[in-house]
């Protein structure tokens, strides 16, 4: 289990951006359980405040790929010292270069109380205490101690945790749709430290070897072309050299094409897996809707059918449901319609005799009739989806098989050509000793590539087995994560939404066999989809859904992974994409996380933009007794901008319109008074 920091207080002194006022200079924030809201206008420093919180915890270190917002992929997860320009991010914002400015953060890591004080000028550590015991100075000790307190083996993991769980920056990437980031989070959140460490080290080892092998292969490629060019100028052994030159050129082209195929393989594999899942899901859903309609039909038939033969009734219900004669396979919509009309006219289905006199269960028949048209529409929708899904699967399979076949053909051609080239090189006459030497060296290089490839295959095989065990241990947590996610996601979304455990097959590096990495994916319903559909990327859901599905996932991970079940969530400007209805639901879900009795801290910033989220959060999370503590009003703390000076009245009105909701949730307030 890990410990996510629970922020307790932040004091910023002598920083020009947050001068405070005469009675209370600087900025002093107490983070009590529940909501803390930072309100300001553009330029007043709300993002700076969030960044200060982040930098207090990371110091002058970051994972370069994250800092530049690159996808994690095969990037190194080692924390590295950030550049001097990045370190001076806070000093650049004020005229005095923040020469005396400092920030002091107090946080709880599990049962331990931690004090971190840094210079804002360059992020240098001024004070670092654990349980009131002063620690030795220096970032190295800080990183080691913080990693221990959190329960991760590397400071890089700590930064990943902050970026993907605790801090929800404005330029955030959705964790739920970022499989490479997700698997790293699952790794250190739920695996014992030593296993998490082994994973990282073996993965890095393979990626480095893969990179070396590819570099060497590039050398072989260049050398092959160079040797071919030299061969073309040779004066003796023309026939042999001509053939070698031609083979070399074709070899180089085929090797390049093989690499290209390798790069596309993972995408196609994922595409066909998704297509198959979609098709099987549509088949199951189609079966369900078909039987539902059939049931309604059968009830209608049963009430009017004089014969008690179940098979006969069943056959007729089938015919009316699918308009298909199951006996001969013909489509017979006219007969189905005729049977339908006989039912409506209360006539015998077989002979058409009037059944008005026959006692029927008219209630169930009437009920079934009224449902039928609705069920028919539902069935037609899923059948259209099934047609589409089958078509997509057929295409994906064809594309995949085509690639496999091409790859196999290229492998065979490359292997045959290599053998032929070696044979030809041996035939070169003695006067071509230099040329022979180059060819022999090329052979040695090719063998080295093969040896590295074999070494890589062995390492990948061992890592694959290791990950299989890892997946088994992680799955024990999957249900808890899904349950917590459901609680948050279903409060926000109108559509059905399921978090599904679905290990993702990917290559480690750019070649080799597929390895199953742990992952969750989201299945989400929608007006255009008859049943929940797997959404593979943020672009497949609306903007409002995107943010809150991801937040639900983060909150779920935090709840399940932490030893105490308590943590902090810092969200920079969450309201941009929400409409009025979603705002209310979003506020309720966020406050579910920030219920005071849970002990979680929820820190939200807003720049007074239009929308209902912040007012709704205030209604639910701020009472008249604690509004001064829970609302950080940057208009009274931060250095005013030209806009806030010139438009002071407008800003005051906007602030009033938001803060007037304080205490408007009377029920909640009276409960908190108790």
């Amino acid at each position: 289990m890990i410990n996510i920091p629970v922020l307790t207080s932040l004091d910023i002194t002598d920083y020009g951006l947050f001068p405070g006022n005469q009675d209370n200079p600087g900025m002093h924030v107490l983070f009590t359980p529940g909501l803390t809201l930072v309100l300001g206008a553009n330029g007043l420093g709300k993002t700076t405040l969030i960044t200060i919180l982040y930098r207090m915890l990371t110091g002058p270190s970051d994972i370069p790929a994250l800092a530049w917002n690159f996808p994690l992929g095969s990037a190194s997860l080692r924390a590295a010292t950030i550049s001097s320009i990045q370190r001076s991010i806070f000093s650049q914002r004020v005229v005095d270069g923040a020469k005396n400015a400092s920030a002091r953060l107090i946080a709880k890591f599990g049962d331990h109380s931690v004090v971190i004080e840094r210079r804002l000028r360059d992020l240098q550590l001024i004070d670092f205490q654990i349980d009131e015991v002063k620690q030795s100075p220096g970032e190295e000790i800080f990183q080691q101690k913080v990693s221990e307190l959190v329960g991760v083996w590397s400071f890089g993991d700590w930064i990943l945790l902050l970026r993907h769980i605790v801090f929800y920056f404005e330029d955030r990437r959705a964790l739920v749709w970022d499989p490479t980031a997700q698997r790293q989070l699952l790794r250190f959140l739920f695996l014992p430290i030593e296993v998490a460490r082994r994973w990282t080290e073996e993965e890095r080892d393979i990626l480095e070897l893969d990179s070396q092998m590819r570099n060497l292969r590039a050398v072989v490629y260049k050398e092959t072309r160079s040797v071919a060019a030299a061969d073309s100028k040779a004066e003796s052994a023309q026939d042999t050299l001509a053939e070698m030159r031609e083979l070399d050129e074709r070899q180089a082209a085929d090797v390049a094409q093989r690499e290209e195929l390798d790069e596309g393989f993972a995408d196609l594999e994922s595409k066909r897996q998704t297509a198959r899942h979609r098709m099987l899901n549509a088949e199951q859903e189609r079966e369900s809707r078909y039987r539902k309609l059939e049931h309604a039909r059968l009830m209608a038939i049963e009430a009017r059918f004089p014969d008690r033969s179940e098979s006969a009734r069943y056959i007729l219900a089938q015919l009316m449901t699918s308009s298909e004669c199951l006996f001969c396979g013909s489509k017979v919509p006219t007969i189905a319609a005729e049977l339908e009309s006989r039912i409506s006219a209360r006539k015998c289905l077989i002979c058409g005799s009037d059944l008005a006199e026959v006692t029927t269960d008219s209630d169930s028949a009437g009920f079934a009739d009224s449902q039928v048209s609705e069920y028919i529409a539902a069935l037609q929708a899923i059948e259209a989806e099934l047609v589409e899904a089958r078509h997509a699967l057929r295409e994906a399979e064809a594309e995949y098989n085509n690639l496999i076949q091409k790859g196999a053909e290229l492998d065979k051609a490359i292997a045959e050509r290599t053998a032929r080239l070696e044979e030809l090189a041996k035939r070169l006459p003695p006067e071509e000793a230099e040329r022979l030497k180059r060819h022999e060296e090329l052979v040695i290089l090719r063998r080295r590539v093969e040896a590295m490839q074999a070494d890589l295959d062995t390492k990948r095989g061992a890592f694959k087995e290791f990950l299989q065990e890892v997946n088994r241990s992680l799955i024990a947590k999957a249900q808890d994560i899904q349950n917590a996610f459901n609680l948050y996601a279903k409060g926000f979304l109108f559509d059905d939404c399921d978090l599904t455990w679905l290990p993702r097959s990917e290559r480690l590096g750019q070649s080799g066999e597929m390895i199953e990495f742990p992952a969750f994916q989201v299945d989400l319903g929608g007006s255009n989809f008859p049943s929940p559909v797997r959404r593979l990327g943020p672009q497949q859901v609306s903007e409002s859904q995107r943010e809150f599905i991801d937040l639900a996932f983060r909150m779920a991970l935090m709840e399940v992974a932490t030893a105490s079940g308590v943590g902090t969530l810092v969200i920079d400007a969450p309201e941009s994409s929400l409409d009025a209805v979603f705002s209310k639901r979003a506020a309720e879900v966020l406050m579910l996380f920030a219920q005071r009795e849970k002990g979680n801290r929820l820190i939200v910033t807003s720049n007074l933009s239009e929308g209902g989220l912040i007012p709704d959060l205030i209604k639910l999370g701020v009472s008249t007794q604690d509004d001064e503590r829970r609302i950080i009003d940057l208009f009274s703390i931060a250095e005013p901008t030209r806009a806030t000076k010139e438009m002071e009245t407008e800003y005051k009105t906007a602030l009033y319109n938001i803060t007037k909701h304080v205490g408007s949730n009377k029920q909640d307030e009276s409960e908190s008074d108790k």
């Binding site: 079966e287 039987r291 059939e294 199951l326 299945d523």
Partner: protein, 238 residues
């Protein structure tokens, strides 16, 4: 004339070329033969009429355990459902068999299952007037006879389990119950992958018998059925 000219719509209204339609026709025929064999075997084993879920379970077992008899599965994948294996396409073929008079249904009903989906409920049995000639013909072929023997042994092996046990046995099957595949995902043991834990377990029994004795292919199925029953019993008593 191009194959597109011969296109027609299948059961789901999907346009298919004559080649695809031909393939599907043979695939459907193979599934219907499998169904007749399963129903016949269930009768011989004394578990007929067989409930719909038990029938689909036997169909699944006939796929997943087919490598034990060195046979290829008819379908190497299945969607993992909370209520156990269920093949919608196979069910459609069963519907056809009912319409053709080969299969009879009793206790017909409709239920919402554990995945909140509707399904047919009922017990199925063969109409021997129509089914027997097909069974006789198929058993005349060497490979047909071999397959039928496998299905018979499978039904015998699992007939020892009560109807209720049969309903839950998939939750103990090494492949279906593999935790790495969550409900709602695809269990693939023979379509794109060859990782078949069930067949591996059944084959492993030959290492557990006293030296010098090797189980027959049929005994492997019986041992596997007993193994699943024991696991089910242990799970229940926990």
């Amino acid at each position: 004339m191009s194959s597109i000219d011969n296109a027609h719509r299948d059961h789901y209204g999907m346009i298919r070329t004559s080649i695809q339609a031909g393939e599907e026709r043979w695939a459907s025929l193979r599934r219907r033969i499998r169904l007749i064999m399963l129903l016949h075997a269930s009768e011989s084993a004394g578990i007929a009429p067989i409930g719909i879920l038990q029938l689909h379970l036997l169909a699944y077992l006939s796929n997943v355990l087919s490598p034990v008899w060195e046979l290829r599965p008819l379908d190497g994948k299945v969607m993992k459902r909370r209520g156990g294996p269920f093949y919608p396409v196979l069910q459609h073929d069963l519907d056809k068999l009912i319409s053709q008079g080969l299969v009879l249904i009793t206790n017909l009903g409709y239920k919402k299952d554990n995945d909140n989906r509707w399904r047919l409920d009922g017990d199925f049995y063969l109409n021997h007037n129509f089914a027997d000639p097909i069974i006789r013909q198929y058993r005349n072929y060497e490979d047909g006879y071999y397959l039928a023997t496998f299905i018979d042994e499978l039904a015998y092996a699992f007939s020892a389990l009560s109807e209720e046990d049969l309903q839950y046995i998939a939750s103990e099957d090494a492949t279906y119950a593999d935790q790495l595949t969550a409900f709602g995902n695809v269990v693939d043991f023979g379509e794109w992958r060859t990782l078949n834990y069930s067949a591996n377990v059944a084959n492993y029994f030959e290492h557990l018998l006293p030296s010098g004795t090797l189980p027959t292919l049929g005994e492997k199925l019986h041992l596997y059925a007993r193994h699943l029953y024991r696991r089910l019993y242990e799970t229940r008593s926990r």
